[in-house]
Amino acid sequence: MRELTLRYDTVLTSGGMTDDVALAAAGDVSAFERVYRLHLPRVHSLVRRMAGDRDTDELTQDVFVRVWQKLGSFRGDSAFSTWLHRLAVNVVIERFRTDTARRQRLLDGEDIFETLAAPSRSRDLSMDFETALTKLPDGAREIFVLHDVEGYKHHEIATLLEISAGTSKAQLHRARMMLRRHLRSDGT
């Protein structure tokens, strides 16, 4: 009778299933809730600022439902927070795309500030910076949030919002010019 000895190399994940993202990708709802609670403040703030305080809670929920659906596509070639953040931006922009009036305002370029009622809102100098941000005209607010708050480049914003880089730059400048008044009233 021959003796048989088996040798094998084992590579096990350290500690088994300890990565909440991996667990959630495998269908663990409790793990996904932990992922949600960890990232909620940043996602909710991003959505609130981009959407101007409209439908923020519903959009935030939409983001996390989309995350749940797309977890299998996360390849780990970037930080999970980066992937999640980009997905959140896409969810908000997709909602904007259904608003044709909003889309037209983005394409109107420099006419935007002449047609919208922003001046009356921006005269309230007691408004703090964060509140003033949400009151900016839609296009300017989205671009300001993406560029100055979230760090996107103009060519990235142009692709996301389907506008020209020139329009992105012009609207960013307008947003900054409007917000500087509230910077003074903000005490900063």
Binding site: R2, A26, P41, S45, D62, V65, Q69, L71, H173
Partner: protein
Amino acid sequence: MTSDPFTDRLSDYADGELDAAERAAVEAHLAGCAPCRTALDELGAVAARAKALSDPAPPRDLWPGIAAQIAAPTARHPRVSPFRRALSARRFSFTLPQLAAAAVALMVLSGGLVWMARSGDPRADFDPVSAHLEAPEENAPAVRPANFADEHYDEAVADLQKTLESGRQALDAETIRVLEENLAAIDRAIDQSRRALAADPANIYLNTHLASARQKKIALLRRASALASMGS
């Protein structure tokens, strides 16, 4: 929009978006325009303030609504059938962390199984068992082909386990221990995949891993059965 072309370029200047000629022109203007210098400082302060914004938690807990949607897909978030998802997917890409739940056995086997046989003379190594199904060996017991649907898969596994059991005495204790550990790991991975799929049966990733884990169980049982047959 102001009529001052230099004021309108201040943000681009602050962000480094101007070419050399434009930048020089703005700098020349700034040297003689105090209001523009003030505006430039304020624009920079706005950008800095934006970067320093905090992210407070929302006042309302949104989890119940999310949990309800992921548990019961609605019209706003319809569940995509596996067939449709397979048609639209360009590729599957999975990270190593994503394999944790259902892939313990895959990683156990992907390192390679090296079977060594001793017959009193110097050891002879068998070829490592790869993670893929191999062509049936000459001494491998006849096995009903497994298509990994539950019924046929279970029958194939039962056949192999029966064959293995009949030749078990030909394997040494260490081999049996390692074999049982590997089978237990694969069975845990299969069980975890099945439970996860119960909540999300359309998940292509989980279906793929369940099929892969079953494939590896079949491969392991076939190899072990073959060795048990040779030794008896």
